[in-house]
């Protein structure tokens, strides 16, 4: 019961943080709130029994992402103007319509915490019952990640390598001459 209560409070907190991220003007404050949002979602993952995911989200989502965003802010500079060419009405209509369709879709979803949900039926019982003997690691997430679904992890490493190569190719080691020298600080 207390878990359900914490779950509801954290989800509401996430929703409020998201609203503030939309409304607030300062880009620095938005980046800090994005870090808070990641940390709150890491807390939610602990309540939902996903401790490994919570570690990763706290380190990567709240830590590295915030540092990367702050670095970008330092390189590109704060800009106050937040108006766009269209008013907020068209995006709001698109978002409301999409959200309504998705909410309609949830009527067919199994209820939250339903033990008979399809996600618990297929391969999950095998992982839970046999992986401590078959792989010999007490943490089932580790054995699924590194053994049963090892090719997924290999693909993940490939994606990270590609992204790293992309970042190096974009930012590189060279100092490029600025196209607008008057805008660059000496």
């Amino acid at each position: 019961m207390i878990e359900t209560l914490i779950d509801i409070v954290l989800l509401t907190f996430l929703a409020v943080t998201a609203i503030v991220i939309v409304r607030i003007r300062s880009l620095f404050a938005v980046i800090m709130l994005a870090g808070i949002y990641s940390l709150a979602s890491a807390g939610l993952f602990v309540v939902l029994d996903a401790v490994d995911v919570a570690f990763t989200e706290a380190v990567v989502g709240a830590g590295i992402s915030t540092v990367l965003l702050l670095g970008t802010l330092a390189l590109t500079g704060e800009q106050r103007k937040t108006t766009s060419r269209h008013g907020p009405l068209i995006p709001l209509a698109v978002v409301t319509l999409t959200g309504a369709v998705l909410v309609w879709g949830t009527w067919d979803m199994p209820l939250f915490g339903d033990p008979g949900a399809p996600a618990h039926q297929h391969v999950a019982p095998r992982y839970i019952q046999d992986s401590p003997n078959e792989v010999g690691v007490p943490n089932m997430v580790t054995s699924v990640l590194a053994s049963y679904r090892g090719f997924d992890t290999l693909g993940e490493v490939t994606v990270i390598f590609t992204a790293g190569v992309g970042v190096l190719a974009l930012l590189g080691f060279r100092r490029r001459k600025p196209r607008h020298p008057e805008r660059e600080k000496p």
């Binding site: 989800l11 509401t12 996430l14 998201a18 609203i19 991220i21 880009l27 938005v30 980046i31 994005a34 949002y37 979602s41 939610l44 993952f45 939902l48 029994d49 995911v53 989200e57 990567v60 989502g61 590295i64 990367l68 965003l69 970008t72 390189l75 590109t76 800009q79 103007k81 937040t82 766009s84 060419r85 269209h86 995006p91 709001l92 698109v94 978002v95 409301t96 998705l102 949830t106 915490g113 033990p115 996600a119 618990h120 992982y127 839970i128 943490n139 089932m140 997430v141 699924v144 990640l145 679904r149 993940e156 994606v159 992204a163 992309g166 970042v167 974009l170 930012l171 490029r176 600025p178």
Partner: protein, 117 residues
């Protein structure tokens, strides 16, 4: 319990649509990437919610525990988080390069400068 049974999904949809709104309504490129991150985290919450077993515990073998939550969504989302930060880094690198090339990170100012867009 009908309401509580769907509360996680509705908040997930709300967060998803908030991120989507940030992406399509703001013209600052850094804000757009933050919107994508909000969208992405909402998908993580959806998956982890589906893996929760009532009365279960974290999927680590312990004495006297028989009911564990489903480890499979956790694995998928671990992969997704790390891939997510890689794509965020790549997107931010593109923003830095756009700033070097155009002198701004506002989408409408870039459109005004470049006829081909």
């Amino acid at each position: 319990m009908e309401f509580l049974g769907h509360y996680n999904y509705w908040i997930v949809i709300f967060l998803m649509m908030t991120g989507f709104y940030v992406v399509i309504s703001h013209s600052n490129l850094v804000r757009k990437i933050i919107g994508l991150n909000i969208f992405q985290t909402s998908v993580f919450i959806l998956y982890i919610s589906m893996g929760k077993m009532p009365g279960g515990t974290a999927p680590i073998v312990a004495e006297g525990v028989t009911l564990y939550s489903n480890p499979l969504p956790h694995v998928l989302i671990l992969t997704a988080i790390v891939v997510g930060v890689a794509t965020t880094a790549l997107g931010l690198a593109l923003v830095v390069r756009i700033k070097e090339a155009y002198g701004t990170v506002e989408e409408d100012e870039i459109h005004a400068q470049d006829e081909s867009l």
